[in-house]
């Protein structure tokens, strides 16, 4: 295995045995999945894919980005739950949150609409979500993640290759 390829595998999959990351990953997945399922499948009273894309176009979000958003919240949630490509799905949901803040929530201020008297929801929710996925983006999936298995396999492959090479020479 080439060093570049291995460096790439490391950059994408490498993580530690941290249980904190597992908690952050599960909760990020559990919280975002219902939103993705609303948009992709129309579950939980959602619009489904065509309704959602129509709604996005009213907000001025092009279909291409809309589809990426829907995938980040649905497929991305499943990737987060299993810890497969954790950094990619963390990145996707982070972008989703940032876009949501600036297209829809910043005008409502910090607070969620706790007392029902505000014009709409604020962005404190999005700050919490961003903190979680920023941690996952930097540290990866942690304990019980598929990323961890892949990183381990890549290291053991490298070792086997090295042993084969040494045996030949």
């Amino acid at each position: 295995m080439s060093t570049t390829k291995n460096g790439f595998v490391k950059m994408v999959f490498e993580t530690d045995e941290s249980l904190s990351l597992t908690f952050l990953r599960f909760i990020a997945a559990i919280v975002i999945f219902p939103h993705g399922a609303q948009k992709l499948l129309g579950w939980f009273g959602g619009y489904g894919i065509s309704g959602t894309l129509g709604f996005f176009s009213q907000l001025g979000i092009p279909p291409f980005l809309g589809i990426l958003d829907i995938l980040a919240e649905s497929v991305g949630a499943i990737l987060l739950a299993t810890g497969l490509l954790t950094r990619l799905s963390a990145f996707g949901t982070a972008v989703t949150m940032i876009v949501a803040v600036f297209t829809a929530h910043i005008s409502n201020g910090f607070f969620m609409n706790w007392s029902g008297q505000a014009a709409g929801e604020g962005f404190e929710y999005h700050i919490l979500y961003l903190a979680i996925v920023l941690v996952l983006l930097v540290k990866g999936g942690g304990a019980y993640s598929l990323d961890k298995l892949i990183a381990k396999k890549s290291v053991s492959d490298e070792k086997t290759n090295y042993e084969l090479q040494s045996a030949k020479s």
């Binding site: 941290s18 249980l19 904190s20 908690f23 952050l24 599960f26 909760i27 990020a28 559990i30 919280v31 219902p34 939980f44 910090f110 607070f111 969620m112 609409n113 706790w114 029902g116 709409g120 929801e121 404190e124 929710y125 700050i127 919490l128 979500y129 961003l130 903190a131 979680i132 920023l134 941690v135 930097v138 540290k139």
Partner: protein, 147 residues
């Protein structure tokens, strides 16, 4: 308290991720505490909040007072990284109690303005961050690491 246990409670590593989590959770929770304690940000202040807790929510005096102090004083402790694990545990318990009061509104926040109130997905996010701090402690730039 046993000195060894005390050190274990404060022990943490030089992890800047924990710093980020601590500051974000503290900064998000503090305005809620300041609303209830000082009446800042359009809040009811101490008396108003205690009345609201007693008459509307039906929370006993002591728990209401603890909740206000947790969201204000302990949020500042979190930002400073002082007794991080204790502050994070108190915020976790506070948020679990708050979540139970939002169960009736379901999972979702009132995103479209047509639900009768806020759901508990917000509280789930605070669970994740406080659990990470209970496990990891205050991390880099925390007062815990100096004690």
């Amino acid at each position: 308290m046993n000195a060894n246990l005390f050190h274990q409670l404060l022990s943490t590593d030089n992890n800047i991720i924990l710093t980020l989590i601590r500051i974000v959770l503290g900064v998000v929770v503090f305005p809620h505490g300041a609303q209830k304690l000082f009446g800042w940000f359009g809040g009811h202040g101490w008396n108003g909040s205690m009345n609201f807790f007693k008459n509307v929510v039906g929370v006993p005096y002591l728990l209401g007072a603890l909740s206000i102090l947790t969201e204000s004083v302990l949020a500042v402790f979190l930002v400073a990284g002082l007794f991080t694990r204790v502050a994070a545990l108190a915020i976790l318990i506070n948020m679990i109690v708050a979540a139970t009061m939002h169960f009736k509104n379901g999972f979702f926040m009132n995103w479209n303005g047509n639900s009768k109130g806020e759901g508990y997905e917000f509280h789930l996010l605070t669970f994740a961050l406080s659990i990470a701090l209970i496990i990891g402690g205050g991390g880099m730039f925390s007062l815990d690491s100096l004690l």
